[in-house]
């Protein structure tokens, strides 16, 4: 049996190298077992129990799953809130971020200053930004409604309105397009200029170059940002916690906030673990769907030969 070991037949130096390799990666390997694999299994097991931390967990089988899918309207509601937000925030952010990147890709003076300005909001995040936007959306003296009033319009109640709270979160997300913009900008600069030169010889105008060269060449980058945007939406927590606590009337109850409430407010650790695994399943399915659909619209240079 031992003779099957890959270590047999290695020179002493190679064996020593392998030993050191494992030694170097051991911090990660230990962390992976202690903080990834172990907890993952534990939370899968916990998802089959009722557990409030103070008394030992009680095995309940699939009851938590059944409760979420058939009895808990807030589970579906929080999914709907998250999906609605994603359906607007992701495409809008993509279009705006891409447009700004296109504009910044022109040979204009002060490119680095513009880039700094557009990226700056992405540097500050978390509680400070949530507090800032909470006051921007303040109905009486917030800057947004003040500006609307100066234009003769009466602004909505924003964070206090069930209709306007999600649009408010979407507007806020657009302030941070700088992160995506930088990635698009890097992608744009990676497109070989020879493609544009030959197109210009063929008499293609700017618009045609955008549709026939830039967009196809950028699809891998767009795809990447899309997948990351999907995952990121399901992680929204701080802004919702600080600005609305999920209100009014659960209108901004994002999935992650609902999970947090179950775990650390209601101490329903079993149910919250189930929510976490449901989240993992949702993210996996969405990612797989995006990857599947990508065959139809993402262009990789390697494909050139097959066409």
């Amino acid at each position: 049996m031992i003779s099957r070991s890959p270590f047999m037949g290695m020179s002493r130096a190679r064996r020593r190298e392998a030993l050191f390799a494992y030694l170097f990666i051991s911090p990660w390997l230990l962390g992976f077992i202690i903080w990834e694999v172990g907890p993952m299994i534990a939370s899968l097991v916990l998802s089959l129990t009722k557990y409030n931390i103070t008394s030992p967990p009680i095995f309940v089988g699939l009851a938590n799953y059944k409760r979420a899918f058939t009895e808990d309207p807030l589970f579906w509601h929080s999914l709907k809130v998250t999906a609605t937000y994603a359906a607007f925030a992701i495409p809008l952010g993509l279009i705006l971020g891409f447009t700004v990147a296109l504009l910044l890709n022109f040979d204009i003076p002060g490119v680095s200053i513009w880039r700094t300005v557009y990226y700056l909001p992405s540097v500050i995040s978390g509680v400070a930004v949530a507090i800032l936007w909470q006051f921007i959306f303040q109905p009486q003296f917030g800057i947004l409604n003040t500006l609307l009033k100066m234009m003769g319009l009466k602004g909505p109640e924003w964070l206090y309105s069930t209709t306007w709270v999600l649009p408010a979160f979407i507007i806020m997300s657009l302030w941070g397009i700088g992160g995506g913009m930088v990635i698009y900008l890097a992608g744009l600069q990676g497109i070989p200029t020879a493609l544009y030169e030959s197109a210009q010889i063929d008499g293609a105008n700017w618009w045609q170059q955008l549709w026939k060269i830039t967009l196809p060449m950028m699809t891998p980058t767009i795809f990447f940002n899309l997948v990351m945007g999907l995952i990121g939406t399901f992680q929204i927590f701080t802004s919702a916690y600080v600005m609305t606590q999920g209100g009014p009337m659960y209108a901004s109850l994002f999935y992650n906030l609902y999970l947090y409430n179950n775990a650390f407010v209601f101490f329903e650790m079993g149910y919250a673990s189930m929510l976490a695994w449901a989240l993992l399943a949702i993210i996996l399915i969405l990612t797989l769907l995006t990857i599947k659909s990508s065959a139809a619209w993402v262009y990789y240079e390697g494909e050139l030969r097959r066409r």
């Binding site: 190298e17 170097f24 880039r115 930088v182 990447f224 995952i231 992650n256 993210i283």
Partner: protein
């Protein structure tokens, strides 16, 4: 139907041509290629400037609110320039928020985790980039796949584990994990960077009697300063803004971080937006300063990791 419209369109063009004098044909009147380009650039700059104003209004408003009195904040039409500027608001924010205590806590956590992240992620990245062992490539794929794992899946058991260890309401749950790998992104980023350093350096060092650790410590680390700085900057940014970790683990007031204290301040002082704006500005100023000094690294890092921005 479609035919009709095309014909109409054709008619319109011909009438337009007739209506226009032959100016276009005269060489002196033709807009040159250079001029057209300049007009295009002008339009681009105009759009960018409009966008920049929209982006900057919230920040400007934050600064101006932080320097106003309450009656001035409520005034309509708004006072754009706070006069006289109430610098006292900042003093009040510092004392009422106990800013220095929370700054100290935040700095302590950020610096200790920074050491953990930079040390352990570079060690692990070196193992993956430079050494050969069976199964290592497979393990690297595992590293990459953990990037997709939502943290919620491990959150609750980890919390229970730290509870059993008696670490809840200490800094340990926030600090100790940083020493175990330092995050898949950072490992990935550093490994990619290490791979760009020629192997000849390693060989030369080995001939001079360096062992594996010596190569890592004396050759790769000094040569990787920009990549290490990128990792450091992103970690500082992340740790400084982290909210859920402190919220879950730090219960007593004197252990709070700035994020947590600011949120609490927000709930208590909703009627004092000037103090709130001042304190949230105080919290973000270190990050903004860091951004201005290390802009290039920031943008490089975003491009390499792609996601953290």
């Amino acid at each position: 139907m479609a035919k009709d419209t095309t014909i109409k369109a054709a008619e319109i063009t011909t009438t337009a041509e007739r209506a226009l004098p032959r100016l276009v044909a005269r060489p002196g009147w033709r807009i040159g290629k250079k001029a057209r380009e300049n007009i295009g650039k002008g339009i681009v700059i105009f759009i960018l400037a409009m966008g920049a104003i929209v982006i900057m209004i919230p920040l400007y408003w934050q600064i101006s609110t932080s320097l106003k009195s309450i009656p001035d904040i409520l005034k309509y039409p708004p006072k754009w320039i706070p006069y006289p500027p109430l610098w006292k608001n900042y003093m009040d924010a510092v004392t009422q928020l106990r800013f220095l205590l929370y700054l100290k806590n935040t700095l302590l956590i950020t610096l200790l985790t920074l050491i953990g992240v930079v040390l352990s992620s570079s060690l692990v990245a070196y193992g993956f980039a430079r050494l050969r062992a069976p199964g290592l490539n497979l393990l690297f794929l595992v590293v990459l796949s953990t990037m997709m794992l939502p943290y919620q899946v491990t959150l609750i058991p980890t919390y229970i584990l730290f509870g059993k260890l008696g670490w809840v309401n200490t800094f340990k749950p926030l600090i100790v994990p940083a020493f175990f790998g330092g995050g898949a992104f950072n490992i990935f980023l550093l490994r990619q960077f290490f791979m760009t350093i020629p192997l000849e350096y390693d060989d030369a060092a080995r001939i001079d009697g360096c062992d594996f650790f010596g190569i890592y410590w004396r050759i790769l680390l000094p040569l990787s300063a920009p990549a290490l700085a990128t990792v450091a900057i992103f970690h500082i940014m992340w740790s400084w803004n982290d909210f859920m970790g402190p919220l879950i683990y730090l219960h007593s007031m004197d252990k709070w971080t700035l994020s947590l204290a600011l949120q609490q301040f927000n709930a208590m002082y909703a009627r004092k937006p000037n103090l709130l704006m001042a304190s949230s500005l105080l919290m973000t100023i270190p990050l903004i300063l860091m951004f201005f000094f290390a802009q290039r690294l920031f943008i490089q890092g975003v491009v390499i990791t792609g996601v953290k921005g």
